[in-house]
Amino acid sequence: MSHHLVEVKDLEYAYPDGTKVLRGVSFRLTHGEAVAIVGANGAGKSTLLLQLNGCLWPQAGTVRIGDFPLNKGTLSYVRRTVGMVFQDPDDQLFMPRVYDDVAFGPLNLGLPPEEVEDRVMQALATVGAAHLKDRPPYRLSGGEKRAVAIAAVLSMSPAILVMDEPTSYLDPKTRRQLIELLKTFKHTRIIATHDLDMVLDLCSRTIVLKEGQVVADGPTLAILQNDELLHSSSLEKPLCLQGCPVCQGRKAPAD
C-alpha cells in the first residue's frame, strides 16, 4: 500500500538561533521497512524525526508521507499515519491514567466509544500492558512507561512508526523484550538510536547522519562493518560484531 511510503527530499532546517541542523537530507523508505537513523550527538537525528509529522517545518525541501506531501492541509492525515514515540515517556504520557492516555489519540480522531475501547485494549495487549490500564503513568517503571507510550501510538493504527531512542533507560531484559516486540510489527519503522546492537537485530537498512547530511544509506550489515565510516561518524562497531576478547586470543582487559 502506498501510504506506507516516506520520502524526504533535500530537507534543510535551522533552529531559530541560526544553528543549521539539517543540510539537504534525502531518502525514500518503502512499505514495511525497518530503518535505523544513526549518527553522533547533534547530527540532526531528533530534528529529522520531528520533521516527519509536522512537529517542525522544513525551511527547504519536502516531506512526503504516502500519497500526500506534508503541508498544513494534510497535517491531520499525516499525524494519523505517522505514529511518533518520543524519547522521554514522561513527555508523552500526560493523561491521568494509562487508559486515558492510550485513548487520547483515538478519541481525538473522533472514533465512537466502543471502537476506542477495543483499540485501547488491543494496543495495551500488544505491548503486554493491559494490567496497567488504571494506573497513573508516574507510578510506572521505565520499561512500563515505554511500553505504554508505544501503545498510546499503536492505538491510532499508524502505518509508520517513528521512534526516538526506544531502548534508552531500559534494563537489558526489558530492552530485549522491546526489540522482540518491535520485530513483530509490520509497520514501516524509523528508529533514531545510538544502540547499534539493536539496529543490527532489528533494521535491515541504516542511514548515517553526520552534521546534518546523509553520509551513508544502505544495508545495515555493510554499514556497521565499515570501520572507517563508523569512526568518522563518531560511531563504533556494535559489540556483537567486535572480536570476542576471550575466544579470539586477544588479551582480555582483566589480565
Partner: protein
Amino acid sequence: MATIESSLLNIGYLETLSYQQTPLHRLDPRAKLLTTLVFIIAVVSFGKYEITGLIPFMIYPVALIAVGNLPPGYLARKILLAAPFAFFIGIFNPLLDRAVLVQLGPVGLSGGWVSFASIMIRFTLTVSAALILIASTGLNAVCLALERLGAPTGFVVQLLFLYRYIFVLTDEALRLMRARSLRSFQGRGLGFKVFTYLIGQLLLRTLARAQRIHLAMRSRGFDGTIRLLRPLEFHLQDAVFFLGWSSLFLLLRWYNLPHQLGHLLTGLAP
C-alpha cells in the same frame, strides 16, 4: 532535600489510599464532591463567634474516616502541615478584639480568643473534609466529577496537568538540588545566588518540557479539547449519601444541637 522527597511520597500515599475498595470509595465522585461542598459551605457560613454549633459537624469526617478505612494519624499530620496558614489568619484576633464575651468562673474569654478558636475549628473541619475527599476518591476522579458537573474544561485540564506533572517537576528540582549539594563544600555554593540559577534552570527545563508535551499532544491529534472516556453512574446509594448528609448539615446549621441538648438536660428556657 529529604523533606521534599518525603512530602512527595506523602502525596503519593494519599493517591494510594484512593485505590481502596470500601463503600465510601465506591460512591460516585460527584456525590462525594457535592457533599463536601455543602459541608464546607455550611461550616464557613456560621457567625464568627460560633463554636458550639460547629462541634457536631465533626461527625462527618469521623464517620467517613471509619467507613473509608483511612488512617486518622496521617490525615491529622496533613492538617497540621497546613495549620500555620489558619493560625496566622486568626492569631491577631485576640489582640484586636478584647471585649470579654464568655465568663468561665474567674477567667474572662475575649471575643478575639473565641473567634480564633472558631477559625481553627473551621479550618480543621474543612481541610479534613477536603483531604478525605481526595483520599477516598483520588484527584483524577474529582477532576472528572468537576467536569461532569459543568466546571470549565480549561480549568479541569489545568488541574489534571498540574497533578500529573508536579511529580516530574519535583523530581527535576530534586536532581538539581542533589547535584548542587554533591559539589558544595563548607557551605560554599549553597548561597542565594546559586539558588536563583537553579530556579532559572528549572524554569527553562519546564518550558522545554512543556514544548515537548505539546508536540506529543499535537502528534496524536490534539485540537484544543481533552476528551475523557469514562462512564460515571449515579446510583441510588449516591443520592442517599448526598441527600442524607446534606440534610444533616442543614439541620445542624439551623439548629444548634449542643444548645438544645443543654437546655433539654438542664431544663432551662432558651
